[in-house]
Symmetry: C2
Subunit: 207 residues, 2 copies
């Protein structure tokens, strides 16, 4: 049985819950309240010295980084192409997500929506999130013109990774109004069989 340490409102944690749901894989969900510091306890830091969620326990081994977890879960499934070049293209969009997309879009949502005044928001930080976030959204918009999904003609973990933060980008004050291809793609991902929203939790296992 897999155990997922996850924060329900975290986009990076949602990626993994969504992947597990799409694969119909059973798992134990452990909620980590990062706003109450549950990711900084000695017990949690012993599992992940970085103190971050999501964290996947596979037997006695721990795997960090949401996109590495997606890759591990998707390996051998249709969510990760078998063709070597398409496989690399899938990772290309996942590295884009972590380097160019998440730092603006997820960070804006985190501070503007979730923490809200928990520290002094600095104008120059907000400006940077907006600039970088919209640049990433424009890259997505251009790529999705004429495409149904990011790689090939079916959903991959690149779509799962990019969906998680993009579908709640408006909570970080981003407008998707001028991005019709992104909005159509979001609807397409959400219409896939087995899709679950961010609030979803697995039914409690018997044991």
């Amino acid at each position: 049985m897999l155990t997922l340490y996850s924060t329900q409102s975290s986009g990076n944690s949602y990626k993994v819950r969504l992947m597990l749901a799409r694969l119909a894989r059973a798992f134990r969900l452990v909620e980590v309240d990062i706003f109450a510091g549950e990711n900084r306890t000695p017990e949690f830091l012993a599992m992940n010295p970085e103190g971050r969620v999501p964290l996947l326990a596979v037997g006695g081994r721990m795997l960090a980084e949401s996109n590495a977890i997606l890759f591990y879960l998707a390996d051998g499934t249709p969510f990760l192409p078998e063709d070597p070049f398409e496989r690399a293209e899938t990772l290309r969009w996942m590295f884009f997500e972590q380097n160019s997309h998440e730092p603006g879009i997820a960070t804006a949502r985190f501070w503007l929506r979730q923490v809200r005044g928990g520290r002094d928001l600095r104008t120059h930080d907000v400006d940077r999130w907006m600039e970088e976030g919209y640049a990433a959204l424009r890259v997505m918009e251009r790529h999705l013109e004429g495409r149904r999904f990011f790689v090939g003609d079916r959903p991959t973990i690149a779509d799962i990774a990019l969906y998680a933060h993009t579908h709640v980008a408006e909570e970080g004050d981003f407008s998707l109004a001028a991005l019709p291809h992104v909005r159509a793609w979001l609807a397409r991902v959400a219409a896939e069989p087995g899709h679950v929203d961010m609030d979803w939790r697995p039914a409690a296992a018997a044991a």
Copy 2:
């Protein structure tokens, strides 16, 4: 024949040159002078709309993102473990590199060393690069205690990815003096057979 569009002083481009050298693979190197705007020409943007290096041409197809290129080149070689969990752990460190390491460490070097006054450096940006960069270096230091390489007992693309920016971190005003495990690991990577430094270029091919 592979063609690599690369900027010689770019750490992300160096990753790919180093990987190709370690694999003893022939390739054509095309220098892109980003400081002269050669990555913003219509011709380059037609190949990569993001205008970034490195970019690998494989036949008529283009692959962006340095770490996705490393994965593509290393697939089927000892630089990418075959065990699914170790493969995911390798990616775990590569996503760490793009999300937590490169944004501070490489960005500081770029603006402090390479651009130098090309725009007004803002104190709050420099402070952020230092804070994030040292946090990433401390994660590496802790992980490397008692380990020779990042995953398993031999070098992988996680080491290649992290070496590229770390070995020139001091050019971005980071001190590695208090990080003995990181320094020992840098020396270990540089002592591997087939290692090349950042200045290396392949001998010109006959055709």
